[in-house]
Amino acid sequence: MEHEIIKVEVHYIAAKKPFVTEAKRTETVGQLKVQALKAFGLVEEGNKTFKLFFHKTELQNLDETLGQVAGDKKELKLDLEEFIIQGK
């Protein structure tokens, strides 16, 4: 398959450097998220979760492949976000 490998960058707000990896296009968003959490030393517990975003759109389907997200692009830049709340 053309461009079977895709370069992925995951940015996390409290990390100075992004998590950078080369992944197969068949790899899922869920698999990438596990790697990113580990790379940033983050742990999900209870309802404390992190979410991946692509161009400010949440990647809700963790079974989606990176190839599906990237389309014909060779690189993918994602943001790993934590829950932020504002009150009044």
Partner: protein, 146 residues
């Protein structure tokens, strides 16, 4: 008085922040062991510079106090020193968000919810500065007017 762990961790994290290219958008002054004053502005109105005071009691385990100050006098009791963005309450001189200590005073229930409690992981100073910059860039309305 700040404990040694807090001071060392804060110094390391501040050094990391200062090394980043995006730090060129911020004028950061290291005032005390766990305190910085930072001048920053919104991409929507770069000429209107705000000066924020971030102060930690314990770094990075607790969220910082976040107050905007008048750079000429150092006063932190002026609502007009504050920008209008989400969750900020210039008239009350506080920010109601889960990334500063004042937010947890207003909403103590946030402390007990794993989803909303303060997250000390990573570079806490960088987290707060990026969140602040994001608010200013994406949600800035105007400087508060009385």
């Amino acid at each position: 008085m700040a404990d040694e762990f807090s001071e060392l961790t804060f110094k390391e994290d501040l050094a990391e922040v200062l090394f980043l290219p995006e730090a060129s958008h911020w004028k950061i002054e290291h005032i005390g062991p766990l305190e910085v004053h930072v001048a920053l502005s919104s991409v929507k109105l770069p000429a209107d510079v705000f000066n924020v005071r971030l102060y930690w009691n314990s770094y990075p385990m607790e969220p910082p106090s976040l107050k905007f100050r008048d750079p000429a006098t150092g006063r932190i009791d002026l609502p007009t020193a504050w920008p209008e963005v989400r969750g900020f309450r210039p008239a009350s001189l506080d920010a109601c968000v889960n990334w500063c200590s004042e937010g947890f005073v207003t909403h103590p229930e946030w402390k007990n919810d794993p989803k909303t409690k303060w997250n000390p992981q990573g570079n806490a100073l960088l987290r707060v500065l990026r969140l602040l910059q994001r608010e200013l860039d994406e949600f800035f309305v105007k400087r508060f007017q009385q």
